[in-house]
Symmetry: C2
Subunit: 200 residues, 2 copies
């Protein structure tokens, strides 16, 4: 453990301050608060961290993170196995799960193509996706990649690779976010929403 | 462990979200980030939490939290043992230490008097402070309590209790914002207030 203080309190503050979203000041306050009731706060958190670190691994089928592999979603008999939603990462998978809008399975790509970042097709889980489709039963692949330059390029590339399999390929609709004010939206989104307008 | 999910990931998110300063959304993002390198992030943090929970206790002399008792400040031969700074809690003690402005010892009161909150003199470490002074060698007590109504009342009460001991009693200079908590103040203000302390 490099550059960490030996003192238990300072060491804990330094490690907790590495948590995304917590700065050093918040970490210090949190540690002080936890030290008031260490048995009720610090030991359960330590236990949960250890358990998660030991148990959680990527699902061998879809790439989701779970304590079991295949993951809970891949094992769920209620999920529609004809439908695979392709996402960039686990964060996006979890976001879609919170929306309760997708009842099919997932496939985590592990990134998007990035010529400048040195990310090529062989760095992404594209071949495993083709293998899953090759096993049969998949009817539609929803490409739910970010609407960035790299995300869009990856979606195009993926669509080309999926074409020979014969499955239907769809992508998320672009438009105005639900509850979003028009005047703070960027021009690209507004233009896309206008182009994709639908009769009421 | 009440009301906690069984799933290791959900359980960790729920526990981490209890950390002051982290909401559920930040906790989820932090867990996801940590799960990318669990051995380097989660296990050291779990270890530091366990160690701190087991080692850290209140100093039997001053009430500071430390892995040893008496604490590092009370043991430090460089500190001026004629000077005791009375603070409300450990957060305030740490804030003063960060300001590097006080070279004496501390005494953690464990709160301030609060008639409405049901906090009386017997709930605070006032008698232990008088005992420390009774052991001799203390020449000045700096009352560094918050400039709130309860803090000011506590400072007055404490001054009255200290009068018979014959030690000089001083307080932090005005310069501490009225109604402000000590532990969120910047070091410069704290240092200036300490330097300009005045007899009561």
């Amino acid at each position: 453990m490099r550059d960490l203080p030996n003192d238990p309190i300072e060491r804990l503050i330094a490690l907790l301050a590495r948590t995304p979203g917590l700065g050093r000041r918040s970490a210090r306050r949190a540690v002080l608060k936890m030290l008031m009731h260490p048995q009720d706060t610090m030991l359960p958190l330590a236990d949960a961290l250890t358990q998660a670190a030991q148990a959680v691994r990527p699902c061998e089928t879809c790439g989701n993170l779970d304590a079991r592999s295949p993951c809970g979603i891949c094992r769920d008999p209620q999920r529609d196995r004809h439908l695979i939603c392709v996402v960039e990462g686990v964060a996006e998978l979890w976001a879609l799960e919170r929306a309760h809008a997708h009842r099919g399975l997932y496939h985590v790509l592990g990134g998007v193509l990035s010529p400048l970042g040195g990310v090529g097709p062989e760095d992404l889980a594209i071949q495993p996706l083709l293998s899953r489709i090759g096993e049969g039963g998949v009817e539609e692949v929803i490409v739910a990649l970010p609407a960035t330059v790299d995300g869009t390029a990856t979606a195009h590339y993926l669509t080309d690779r999926l074409k020979p399999t014969g499955v239907a390929v769809t992508r998320l609709a672009q438009g105005v976010p639900v509850g979003g004010a028009l005047d703070v939206l960027d021009e690209g989104t507004l233009a896309a929403a206008l182009r994709a307008r639908r009769p009421v």
